[in-house]
Symmetry: C2
Subunit: 377 residues, 2 copies
């Protein structure tokens, strides 16, 4: 394992303690500043905690995109999901931010479901991935997206539309570039390098369908940024705008550090977990608390390294004031981990229960959201 | 240029004087022997000059395939075309052999038109390639294939059907393997290595559609053999038979050696050439004749290196007896190049004129031959 100073972030691997400021420098992106935050908040009419609390913290060309918007050039949103497991809170939290942006800018949203990529990288059969995809799409829909403005691109089903665009990108991307950007080796299968072009294709699809050059904004976790480097490199050669991006940090699991991940189910809140399971997982969570209650009363806890506190930050504090109060009381040794976890567990369980009702309805609407080329011709 | 001893044969490049016997050894294929020739001839009911004169001369697993057939296991034929230019005699001659095999074995024939590959390797736009594809498909149909048993796979149009099969192949093929088989480098674009899986996909498509394991026979020029090595490598891992193949030599142009190629129009008979143009091209052809008529009467010509003679061999001698007579008279100095070319030019012009009438009808039937997945579900 890398030590605290070293970390690795690629689209397929996150290891070590991520230094997000360093990542911005390494990737060549920019921090979202107060002015940009204020522009979005003003347009939306209210503040989103994922923005104000800097979960979404980095960007490419966001200022340019908002300038274009102010001049009357609408943009579309593009995000996605790799369907290789159940949906968890780490997926839902960024979805809520997409919903916030869709509502604020009345923007079309394109959601790519990469069943092809998951088949290429996972030990799963195509049929298993199809079922994950259907469930994942319903989970996405359940976040409340506007069906008139939201299009789900399930790769295997809309490959005929994406393929000619992917070919244009692939023709202009060498294996050398793909190696440098994604860390491929000669032992990588021949599907993945081409897939990088296929994941870039939706950046240009709405422009192709609407026959005009439409700016694109990609909200995604920062580990996905390499895909958009390929897209940004090729865009001018194809006569399109470079896609802009807004990046979030990883949503942490309930363990000691690390991204919430299906491969660690004990520290992951799945959206089909029962209230009992959720309570168990939260109560067993790693925290920033002291080893004993007595010590915590004396020395206080450390909310900055506490996953429980991070969940209040992402979604579960009722207000900034409450979040500040939790922070202060923890640090002062006034708030013990037990009651803090119990409160969070209750809120998460209620959120997930409510979500499950919406999901049941969403499952019946999957087909309504699937992209059909004939709707655009 | 390599000397006569050196030659290079890849799917994209043929250079030097090809030693076909050596190619069989290098590629690890086998020569078609008298017994195999006799089996096919007997089944067809008549001899095909492309077989008896050893233009189709090499194979993989042809004996196994015919044994399977004799046990009641029908096979299908799979061949194809890269649409980056006009159709010429070098394409039509192997098509006639496909027709011979289709009729002999009452076999389904799958014809892949690789508009995607041609876009990836040529300086052409997708729209230009689409038009070449339509023309090339009509040229193929004009050779008289049975519409009930012949399916044209235009990659961009049937990618949704081919893609899941190509993914299965791509997942099991490393860039290393593709490099070794095709000579790719790090500067190759990321589309081509994946395309190798897409060109292998039709080997298994009929088995997928008909839901049983159907043997496949690929008639193709020997330079295409590397594609089927990928398919043969992957086949057992996917539970399919390895595709069998029957390979032809390159159809020579009218210049001094070399494969007939659109990139050398002066020495290529295009299927839309006028009788006047055909006559010009044939009359200007390189030959195996002596420098002067007098010398030829004295020393004779060399039909073995003569493209004019080779065209009699492929398609334009009326019988083996006539072919032998031409050979002997040339060698003996009794036949001069002028009258020999005039006779060939007349036969080629008549063949092409007749073909053009069939092509005009075929242009209206292109859609009837295009594969539609719904016909198989």
């Amino acid at each position: 394992m890398p030590d605290q100073k070293q970390f690795v972030v690629t689209p397929w691997k996150v290891e070590g303690a991520v230094d997000y400021e360093k990542l911005v420098k390494d990737f060549g992106t920019q921090l979202i500043d107060d002015r940009l935050r204020a522009r979005i908040t003003k347009k939306a009419g209210f503040s989103n905690p994922l923005l104000s609390r800097r979960v979404f913290y980095s960007h490419r060309d966001l200022g340019w995109l908002l300038d274009m918007y102010d001049k009357g050039e609408e943009f579309f949103l593009y995000t996605g999901r790799g369907p290789s497991g159940g949906t968890h809170l780490g997926h839902i939290i960024p979805y809520t931010f997409n919903k916030y942006l869709q509502d604020a800018y009345d923007a079309e949203l394109w959601f790519q479901v990469t069943d092809d990529e998951k088949y290429l990288v996972k030990e799963l059969e195509q049929e298993e991935i199809s079922e994950f995809a259907r469930q994942n799409i319903a989970d996405f829909i359940a976040c409340g997206f506007d069906p008139k403005k939201t299009h789900v691109l399930l790769d295997s089903q809309c490959i005929k539309t994406l393929y000619p665009i992917a070919l244009k990108i692939a023709k202009r991307t060498t294996f050398s570039t793909a190696k440098a950007v994604f860390g491929f080796t000669n032992e990588t299968n021949v599907g993945l390098p081409f897939f990088t072009a296929l994941q870039a294709a939706p950046c240009f699809l709405p422009s192709v369908l609407h026959k005009r050059n439409i700016p694109c904004l990609i909200p995604a976790a920062i580990d996905q940024d390499p895909y958009w480097r390929i897209a940004r490199d090729v865009a001018p050669k194809l006569g399109f705008h470079k896609p802009a991006a807004i990046h979030c940090k990883f949503i942490s699991g309930l363990g000691k550090g690390g991204k919430m991940s299906s491969s660690e189910p004990e520290t992951t809140i799945f959206m089909d977990d029962s209230p009992t399971v959720i309570k168990q997982k939260v109560m067993r969570s790693f925290t920033g608390g002291a080893p004993t209650e007595e010590q915590q009363r004396l020395e206080g806890g450390d909310p900055s390294i506490c996953p429980v506190y991070s969940y209040y930050t992402y979604l579960f504090a009722k207000s900034d004031a409450e979040l500040q109060k939790i922070f202060d009381e923890c640090e002062e040794g006034e708030l013990m981990c037990g009651p803090d976890k119990t409160r969070l567990a209750g809120r998460v369980a209620a959120f997930v229960s409510d979500f499950q009702k919406k999901k049941q309805k969403a499952l019946k609407r999957v087909d309504d959201f699937l992209f059909r080329e004939e709707d655009f011709t």
